[in-house]
Symmetry: C2
Subunit: 538 residues, 2 copies
């Protein structure tokens, strides 16, 4: 059945049903096998490690009736989602480098794409859902934020073009998202529908530039965003709006694959039924439907609409043609690039070329103030603030953020949403100091715009905590991992004599590098000592 | 070099160096590949999932010069260490069933062995480091505890014999541990050396019975324990004591493989150098050396001692003969049992036969008091006490222990060693109620004797907390997951009107089953409704 070809369903990257992390969203293998045999054309994968992903992709291909699109949201390197791949500094870090070293940033963006592409390919994926083409014009954006390549349209256009050059060289398909731009939103579309006041003129001047650049660079697909632009279409969010999708088709002239963002996201499912959303998106001009809530129902509903004449048959034809065109491109890749890349059947995913890129990004993204050559050595409380610990992908008992301060006498205490509330309702004394005991605080804040966190972080009064701890003479150091906007806020109130650091990334290597300015590294960590090799200066 | 054959080195179950969870203990692949090529005879694996383990075992075999022993500490099912396998109730749960239904418990123990054996084999392992033959005669034992099959010598002997029958039927080697008995210790040998006051008479009457039964049941190997018995050998712990190991060889007459417990454990490494320990254990009568700190150094030291005549060459000969005998047994297994078991090349590890065993163990181990048909429905604080959260193997945001109470209005708060201290120094009011806010407490305590935890839990005043909460009329329910000894203590002070449950296991399915007595399950969890099928009654 041709309609099935247009669905991209969600599956766990783990092989076994019992390992699924989100059983509500990830089908059982029995259903997955059946749907693939019936012709479903794509799978989006979440979770697991690269070894599992390699086996998983092989299995899924063996179940599929025809060629299969295998994609993942690996915007920040394969390691962002699959352990064993490289976990790179978020794109906004490259955006920050661009402001001082544009040439260098462009080179890094291209290598970022190449590294992500070759690792994705080695895992068995053939379609990377990146680059994010949104311009993070709103610092309070709870869902794009660090995922964007910058706050300026031209900068984003230049960097995503370099990324696309890199990734395309490795024989995987690309995806520009989230059309017509999700960077100015104040709410998370995983939780509710963002409303943007932009008119077409504003889009033309800002948001559309990176998408035009992506198309000029040969992007294979564009993903629609779940955002409402009442000045352009007062009724339907972009994903379901032919008016908005027609801008892409007719004004910009994109003739590649148009894929929706996940249809199960609240921004859509709060207001539209599951079948309704699938039919509407398809009618509006989407070619591929990502994560419909119930794939069988979606197929049935679209077939019915085609039979009833509610959907023109022409829509099916053009969607199939576009989809088969990218599939043909993958097959061509396999014949050309594949021959060179795929004969190494090992489980090794990350090579020196990737590690050097990761290091170079780290060494040129982390900022420090009041570097103390002697190290921080008073001892006290190492207060780590994270979103959650069940699990926390960048923290375990051996993480630098715990171990390095511990060796200097700092006892770790982790604050997270399932822990004891550390707050008092007093903006002068927001942190309940009495429940922490004696000692000065070494503060490590892991805060970035993460999907599903609902922007809760903005309610945490960290600037006030800095002032409070300084007043009590109990702040010995500060590291922010994540939001540059929070960092900018905090250094405004930070006493200039207190050592501090900022890292856009939260991964262990970033922790180690940032903390090397505060604490002595032991023998095993000496490799960081040659970090100078990777740094470039004015 | 033959000496290398006698080493069992540690490796991560993950395939990539970057995924190692304990890089201090787990060699890099480069070193591992070299050592296996040089003839190292065994690898013990930790971490990863079953899919990774399958690939890992293939890779390790391809690196090895000769036949390779591949083992793991999967005492509580393969799922205890490797996600994707069955995670069974701990052996002490079967021990508890034995007291009421001895026949049934023996049947369960045999199925426990068969399930663990067949899953281990499917993963590529050929040697399971179980059963624990220690008698948990000391309820305060911080390291054996739930791992033992009971507190009575005859019961342990009977159950481990059944386990061995089960596991041996699946074509994997077995290991009885920790000779001459680690069940009466008060300290954890991972942290320091336990001292036992037993003389030979006491050993003969108690501790040795299960080992004799294991040998009569055809056990393939025995592991020595790091325990000091001054009445038998005042100088050396069992692992390094020829006097004690000779009891096994000459008094009991065991002629199979004698393997040490991990030589890097503090009980040994606090007092003996790394090479010294390896040479001494070998001289004392051990055939295989588990996890020497530096394998190259251990090989060199043993070779030197053999050359110098400090170690008789006869020791090397007999160790090699014994080791090659079990290797031959594996090869015979591969030809007979293997043909039947191994032709299924899938990644599936757990089958209905395993799931039914896991369910039957759960349904017959969980105790409840004051079962409330209407459920607990007041709402309040769901206080979960766990050892640690970085990570917590049985808890994530979708675990029943979080979700089921949450649906009934209980907000989860997790207490763990890296969290804010919940304690006051007042044994009447030990829990700092003011920092938890309003509402009644639904208390879930995940406490069992876990290695490396140092018996810390004994310092937590949970009986006093129960009294405190009851006095304040703020206790709405109690579940203990783990230690039956803690449970016994707590029900003594628990108000009989308060609903409570006890589960020996901590895994999600045990949580779901225990909580089904308190909270309504939703549609997806209805499979538990047929739990009656799995229960047997007097």
């Amino acid at each position: 059945m041709c309609v099935a070809e247009l669905l991209v369903v969600r599956a766990s990257g783990h092989l076994l049903d019992s390992q699924r992390q989100y059983p509500e969203w990830e089908m059982e293998n029995r259903d997955l096998e059946r749907l693939l045999a019936e012709g479903v054309g794509g799978v989006i994968l979440f979770g697991g490690c690269t070894t599992e992903l390699q086996e998983r992709c092989k299995t899924l291909k063996s179940w599929a009736k025809g060629p299969l699109l295998l994609c993942a949201d690996v915007e920040e390197g394969v390691g962002q989602r699959f352990q064993g791949g490289s976990w790179l500094m978020p794109p906004l870090a490259v955006g920050k480098i661009y402001k001082r070293f544009p040439e260098k940033a462009i080179e890094l963006a291209e290598r970022y794409g190449a590294s992500t592409g070759s690792q994705a390919r080695r895992c068995g994926l053939n379609w990377v859902l990146a680059p994010v083409c949104d311009i993070n014009s709103n610092p309070k954006n709870p869902v794009i934020n660090m995922r964007a390549w910058g706050e300026d349209p031209v900068q984003v256009a230049v960097l995503i073009s370099a990324f696309i050059r890199g990734i395309s060289s490795q024989g995987v398909l690309t995806c520009a998202k989230h059309f017509p731009g999700h960077g100015d939103s104040l709410v998370d579309s995983h939780l509710e529908l963002p409303i943007l006041s932009h008119d077409l003129k504003r889009l033309e001047e800002e948001e559309l530039l990176p998408f035009k650049a992506a198309i000029a660079s040969g992007i294979d697909s564009v993903m629609s965003g779940h955002v409402l632009l009442p000045k352009i279409d007062p009724n339907y969010p972009a994903t379901l709006s032919s008016t908005i999708l027609n801008i892409l088709r007719h004004k910009i002239g994109f003739d590649g694959v148009l894929v929706t963002d996940a249809l199960i996201m609240n921004a859509i499912s709060n207001s539209f039924g599951s079948c309704e959303a699938a039919v509407m998106a398809f009618a509006a001009g989407a070619d591929l439907l990502l994560m419909p809530k119930d794939p069988d129902e979606a197929i049935r509903a679209i077939c019915e609409a085609l039979m009833n004449g509610l959907l023109p048959m022409k829509r099916l034809e053009e969607a199939l043609i576009r989809k088969r065109k990218v599939v043909a491109k993958i097959e061509a890749f396999d014949l050309t690039i594949g021959e060179r890349l795929d004969n190494n059947q090992s489980h090794q995913i990350e090579f020196d070329i990737d590690r050097n890129l990761a290091k170079e990004l780290i060494c040129n993204s982390i900022e420090t103030h009041n570097y103390v050559a002697s190290g921080v050595n008073k001892g006290g409380i190492n207060l780590l603030r994270v979103d959650g610990v069940l699990p926390c992908p960048f923290l375990n008992t051996l993480s630098p953020a715990l171990c390095l301060p511990e060796r200097a006498g700092y006892q770790p205490i982790i604050c997270h949403k399932h822990g004891i509330n550390p707050w008092r309702e007093d903006l002068n004394e927001p942190l309940a100091l009495d429940i922490f005991g004696e000692g000065s605080f070494f503060l490590q804040l892991f805060i970035r715009g993460n999907p599903f966190q609902g922007g809760l972080k903005h309610q945490e009064p960290w600037p006030e905590v800095i002032s409070q701890l300084q007043r009590h003479n109990r702040l010995s150091g500060l590291v922010v991992y994540g939001s540059p906007y929070l960092w900018d806020e905090l250094i405004k109130v930070l006493d200039p004599s207190i050592p501090s650091a900022y890292s856009p990334g939260q991964m262990p290597d970033a922790q180690k590098h940032a903390l090397s300015y505060f604490f002595q590294l032991n023998e095993k960590n000496k490799d960081l000592k040659n970090k100078k090799v990777f740094e470039f200066t004015d």
